[in-house]
Amino acid sequence: MRTVIALVLLLVLSGARDAILVPEVSQHEVRLRQGFTGTELLLFGAILSPEGTRAAQDYDIVVVLKGPTQAIVVREKAKVAGIWVNADSIELRSAPSYFALASTRPIDRIVDDKTAAIYELGLRWLQLSPIGAIDPEEQQRFASGLVDLNQRTGLYRQEEEGVTVSEQVLYQARIALPSRVPTGTYTAETFAITKGQVVASASSTVIVHKLGIERAIAEFADQYGFLYGLVAVALSIAMGWIAGRLFALI
């Protein structure tokens, strides 16, 4: 009976009204401090049909966690005169410093390429904004090089079955942040997709920042370079000298 109602509702309402998406992130603040060895964020929430009934079976869920973008230069090594040196390079204005995606099914079965590109659904579709005129094939080569590099360090990840749905209403995805995660404001986006269309989306932010002594050190190093250098030098001399004295006594 329930399926019949659902089917009827689907027929009546398909595309006409938006699904209700209630997303949440397990923590909105990630603190980088002593003992931080990476963490796991839980992106979860509920998906309901416009009437407020369970609806997850009709929708695919995609969650994306994106770090602040940065301007970078990607260099490619080539063999020149017998040794591997940096040869070609490309400048990108907006490479995400972190990018993680999880979805209920492989992206190419949820949406077509055009939609995926518009919503940046997947590492293939990152909008990197190269600087200057660059031939698309070359850009593709560098982009996949960048993705491959960052996947190795865990800064880019894509888990195409990473979203699990329970009771057709609650979805959840675990996204790992490695210890080398960059600081900044991250956006967590959730998309509900049906029949290749994004029907609902919601976003929230996660702040990744250093705290306590780590933050103090980073700020000190950044703002008072000269003093910081003096402290580093003093520390080295003091430690060397103390060790020398201690061993002279033995």
Binding site: A71, V74, L146, R180, A218, A221, A232, G240, F247
Partner: protein, 304 residues
């Protein structure tokens, strides 16, 4: 023991870093080299960004040379006069090195240049040292004394104008020679994050012709000041000195340096030099392989 490094932005195993420091400290105490030529590549291998590795290794070398230098100073093994000239050169060299560092970073060739420098310097100096110590060892065995060296120092050194007397080193040469040597090692320190000891010691012995008993102490004296200047330079320009990383390295290296210095007094200097030569050659070989073989990852990323 996980430690979060606030400048390198990643967490490392603290014990591994202390152990790394102890290893290089041991070398520093035994051979009078800073040990930076091992620390920097090992840190990079461990995953610490190259600039942070070079900048923090410099302060580790400072610590190791302080305790090493005091040990030699107590035995009268430091020539402050020639050391002072070399420090002056070293500081000039650090400035030049900083300029080169920025230029090469902008060109994207800093890593290649650093690797090439490692291969060339370590390869040539390693072979020189190995050759020399093997010959001495063989001579000791057969009982035939090697022919005395014909000249004290390189003819180019003798041709430089305005000579000074350096009593402790037993030299009457132009101060320009140690000054130029200082400048060169200063550049190397800034570029490679090394103290330059493995370049300095042979150069002081074979090019300047200094007395062997003041070579190690004086080289540590020069390294001490040049690495201090390097740390300051990095703190003000690249801002890549990670004080937590440096502290961990120091903890290991100052202890290692003391143990190394005590060990050096008991061991035969010729055998010590052979061991150092082998280590230096191994590092050079590893670097050469890295340049010649296709790297695992041919892409690198740098902030714009």
């Amino acid at each position: 023991m996980d430690v979060y490094l606030p400048i390198a932005n990643l967490s490392v195993n603290g014990l591994v870093i202390v152990g790394l420091g102890a290893l290089t400290g041991l070398l520093s105490g035994m051979f009078g080299v800073g040990g930076g030529f091992l620390t920097t590549p090992l840190l990079i291998f461990y995953g610490v960004p190259p600039t942070v590795s070079a900048a923090s290794a410099a302060s580790q070398v400072t610590g190791a040379s302080v305790s090493g230098m005091f040990a030699h100073y107590r035995r009268g093994g430091v020539d402050f006069q020639i050391g002072g000239v070399m420090v002056a050169g070293g500081i000039i060299g650090t400035g030049i090195g900083a300029g080169l560092f920025n230029l090469l970073t902008a060109l994207g060739q800093i890593d290649t240049v650093i690797n090439l420098l490692y291969v060339l310097l370590l390869g040539s100096i390693g072979s020189l040292m190995a050759n020399e110590s093997i010959q001495t060892l063989r001579a000791e065995k057969t009982g035939v004394r090697p022919a005395a060296r014909k000249r004290r120092h390189h003819p180019l050194v003798a041709s430089l104008p305005m000579r000074w007397r350096f009593y402790r080193s037993g030299l009457y040469i132009s101060p320009l020679a140690p000054l130029i040597l200082g400048i060169l090692t200063g550049i190397l320190t800034m570029l490679m994050g090394i103290g330059g000891g493995f370049v300095l010691v042979p150069a002081m012995l074979y090019i300047l012709g200094m007395s062997a008993n003041v070579v190690v102490g004086t080289s540590l004296f020069q390294i001490l000041f040049v690495t201090m200047a390097t740390t300051m330079m990095h703190a003000m320009t690249t801002r890549a000195v990670d004080i937590v990383l440096a502290g961990l390295l120091l903890l290991g290296s100052v202890t290692g340096a003391q143990l190394g210095a005590q060990f050096a007094q008991k061991a035969s200097p010729v055998k010590l030099r052979l061991v150092l030569a082998v280590i230096v050659l191994l590092v050079a070989l590893r670097m050469a392989l890295g340049l010649g073989y296709q790297p695992d990852e041919i892409y690198t990323v740098a902030p714009l």
